[in-house]
Amino acid sequence: MSAQQTSLVGMKRPSRRALRNRIKKTVPWMIISAFLVFALFPVYWIILIAFRPRGDIFQYPAALLPTNMSLDNIRYVWFGSETNDPVIGFLGTSLVISVTASVIAIAFGVCCAYALGRFRIGGNFLSVWILSQRFLPPIALVVPLYLMFRELGLLDTYLGLIILYATFTIPIVVWLMLGYVESAPRELEEAAYVDGAGYWTTFVRVALPVLKPGLSVAAVFTFIFIWNEYVLAYQLAGDDVATITVYLPRLRSAIAELYGEIAAASLLSVLPAILFAGMMQRFLVRGLAFGGLK
């Protein structure tokens, strides 16, 4: 700071241009810093409360900086206590459902995207119809799905949630993969046909390896979508088969509001999202997020 000041005093008045460049460099960082504080403060707060001893949580006004550290909240949530079930089973349920449904959605979706992108079946109508399914929010369909699942005996089952999530994420996979299929070179596949390879062999051996980076992006998106979903998980399941998002609100309806436990469980539940945010950014910045808009 002082070095900067002396150099400014020693210099002639900085030229207008130099000043402008200075502003040009600092203003964006000021804006970005403000947004970073806004974006990350709630995450900081979850971490803070998760590690804060119970006595300190219920003090007024709340301390904004770390006070005493305690692993009690994490321990209660992890191993369970009189007031709450252990979180591990719910995390496990979420993991099983998210992974299984993602794998199914990606397998179905990439085949569908390949058929649409390479062979143009069903013309524009079919692609638009599949992509438009993305605009049907689960919340609008939850009533008929509830009635359907009640008739079919699929309420509160792993199978029910898995087929539901797999289906609802297929349009996301198709939407993400179409761009990759269309930009992948055709020549390799044509060479394979000339060599006598069948359509399926060509798809698996030649096309799929080229689509691999797209598949990992699709996996991240579908996993996060399913992991974070609450509405269907709560209304169509939530007793025998309860995911982590169903577990969290339960802590509030307990006798006392389990602030620390809620924070600790929330922290555990957002870890995958935080890990994957880093993977998502590479894809989104490239501007590919809008299949039709590249």
Binding site: P61, A62, F203, V285, G292
Partner: protein
């Protein structure tokens, strides 16, 4: 040639069948139940009542109120998301180093589950143990505010949470749009001595129009389906003043067990959102033919 078509259809078939079974069938079922009256007793069969549910909905002040509240949240949140998102996108565009790291940190709110976002903002806005009142008191000497149990602060709390969750996403999409503007156009404007304000007005904003439209429409869909944030932050209160459309739909279906009226409301929302989706597809098509 025929083998090729057959192969392609067999590749697409599983997805198409799944989407029909769990997309179209429930949709048709929903339209059917929208014309029926359900008894709270599930053993009694529903009765066909024609447009009865529609009539009772349109004369239901709570339904109309929920649409009004959704509209208020929509206008306020969308405006803030687009303006703040664009400012953030311009700032991200201007920096050269560290962009990847900043973007992955900024994306955390969007990647967090809405239910967790609801929980954390509920904790932040808590009148006694929350961070916001603590900051207001310690830094500005402001007396505690009962954020979530008074109006209009309850609505403000919801808007803040929505803006927090989605503005970084909006900014990243707009940043993607900014990077499609050819550098030489901007450089030419600079050489001609055009002031930054006019470059923004006459070059950047027109080229960004499709990106604004697309991300704006995505946000409309997100806000119309809003459920978890108000459910956790205010639980619809005070009174029913923050019961958005999604929360009221759930009340109808799973608190009142009025599945007929809930279905009619779903039909209404799906039709509204279909119009939005059709608009989106048109706009994308326009952009494609223009390019």
């Amino acid at each position: 040639m025929r083998g090729q078509t057959k192969f392609a259809w067999s590749m697409a078939a599983p997805s198409i069948i799944a989407l029909i079974a769990l997309g179209i069938v429930p949709l048709v079922w929903m339209v059917w139940t929208a014309f029926q009256a359900f008894s709270p007793n599930p053993t009694l069969p529903p009765q066909f009542i024609g447009l009865g549910n529609f009539e009772s909905l349109t004369s239901d002040p709570q339904f109309l109120g929920s649409l009004k509240i959704t509209a208020i949240v929509l206008v306020a949140a969308l405006f803030l998301q687009l303006v703040l998102g664009f400012i953030l996108a311009l700032a991200l565009y201007a920096i050269e180093r560290g962009r990847a790291l900043v973007v992955s940190l900024l994306l955390i709110p969007t990647a967090i589950a809405p239910i967790v976002a609801g929980i954390v903002w509920w904790m932040l806005f808590n009148a006694r143990f929350g961070a916001i009142n603590s900051i207001l008191l310690q830094w500005f000497g402001v007396d505690p505010v009962n954020w979530t149990i008074e109006m209009p602060t309850a609505l403000i709390a919801i808007v803040v949470a929505v803006v927090w969750q989605w503005t970084p996403f909006v900014a990243i999409i707009l940043l993607g749009g900014l990077t499609t503007i050819p550098r030489d156009v901007l450089d030419a404007a600079k050489i001609d001595g055009a002031p930054a304000r006019r470059v923004l007005r006459y070059i950047i904003l027109p080229m960004m129009r499709p990106f604004f439209l697309v991300v704006g429409l995505l946000m409309i869909i997100e806000i119309v389906r809003l459920y978890e944030l108000p459910f956790f932050i205010t639980q619809g209160g005070p009174g029913n003043e923050t019961v958005v459309a999604g929360v009221y739909l759930f009340k109808l279906a799973f608190s009142f067990f009025d599945l007929g009226r809930a279905s009619m409301m779903s039909v209404f929302l799906v039709i509204s959102l279909s119009i939005v989706a059709a608009l989106y597809m048109r706009l994308v098509a326009d952009k494609k033919s223009a390019a």
